[in-house]
């Protein structure tokens, strides 16, 4: 059972981060709680032996997405009412929906439908088969994601620059 101890610890840390995200008032604290959750998840991936995914989790999520998020929070006005008042009018239905979903999914997990005996597989995950499969079988998907990223960058620039909707842009459409 000792090998499960790190998993329990990091799971507790991730869960704590998720709860703090719900109750923290300032978005910066929510962002820090989310970073803590992501780091705990990266530690869980490393414990499972999937080190590649753990590295991606830290590099992409914590290193890129959350730094971006923190910069955006610093850009925003802290006198905004949404910084003071945490919850919207949907507080009660939201908590109800969450409880119902947790009960349903938790029942499915607890009933053991998906818990076949674990083979000692985590040690079997190796970087080399992953890389070979990645660049032999899935190279087209990889290229498609790069196209998707370029499309996202172009769309972000278009959204930020489109003044008043029609003016200036859209001219090349016709």
């Amino acid at each position: 059972m000792t090998h499960l101890l790190p998993l329990y610890g990091f799971s507790a840390a991730a869960l704590t981060g998720g709860v703090v995200m719900l109750i923290a008032r300032h978005p910066m604290r929510v962002a820090l709680a989310l970073i803590a959750t992501m780091l705990s998840l990266a530690a869980i991936y490393a414990t499972l032996g999937v080190h590649v995914i753990a590295v991606f989790q830290v590099l992409i999520y914590v290193g890129a997405v959350m730094v971006f998020m923190v910069f955006i929070i610093m850009l925003l006005d802290t006198r905004d009412p949404s910084f003071v008042e945490r919850y919207s009018r949907l507080l009660v239905p939201g908590v109800l929906v969450g409880a119902l979903l947790a009960a349903g999914l938790g029942h499915t997990v607890a009933s053991g439908l998906v818990a076949a005996p674990v083979n000692p597989a985590p040690a079997d995950f190796r970087l080399q088969p992953f890389s070979v499969e990645f660049l032999r079988t899935y190279w087209l998907h990889f290229e498609l994601t790069s196209v998707l990223l370029i499309a996202a960058v172009v769309a972000a620039i278009a959204v930020l620059q489109g003044r008043g909707g029609r003016r200036g842009h859209g001219g090349r459409d016709g």
Binding site: V65, P117, Y138, H141
Partner: protein
């Protein structure tokens, strides 16, 4: 409770917390971060199954999901910034006419 079941339970808990956050929180940036939490919960279950099967394809799929989530946030943040520039507030309740 074995490790698969533990991690799936954690995934359920994080997904639920994220969904509750998307519904109940007022600040648009916080709503986006709760969306990220939901994506992370889904990736956790994906990686759990991939690690259990020692599947390289599962890890590739997880990587692709990472990239798609990064693209999603790269387009969501400018939309939020644009809304804030127009309406001067981050309160998602102020954009009620987006309901259609």
């Amino acid at each position: 409770m074995d490790s698969t079941q533990l991690l799936l339970a954690l995934s359920v808990a994080l997904f639920t917390l994220g969904l509750a956050g998307v519904i109940i929180r007022r600040n648009a940036i916080v709503v986006l971060m709760c969306l990220e939490l939901m994506v992370n919960a889904v990736i956790l279950s994906l990686v759990t199954f991939a690690a259990r099967a020692a599947s390289a394809s599962g890890a590739v799929l997880a990587l692709l999901v990472f990239v798609v989530a990064a693209a999603e946030i790269a387009i969501a943040i400018p939309i939020v910034l644009r809304l804030v520039k127009q309406r001067r507030t981050l309160d998602v309740g102020a954009y009620a006419e987006l309901k259609g």
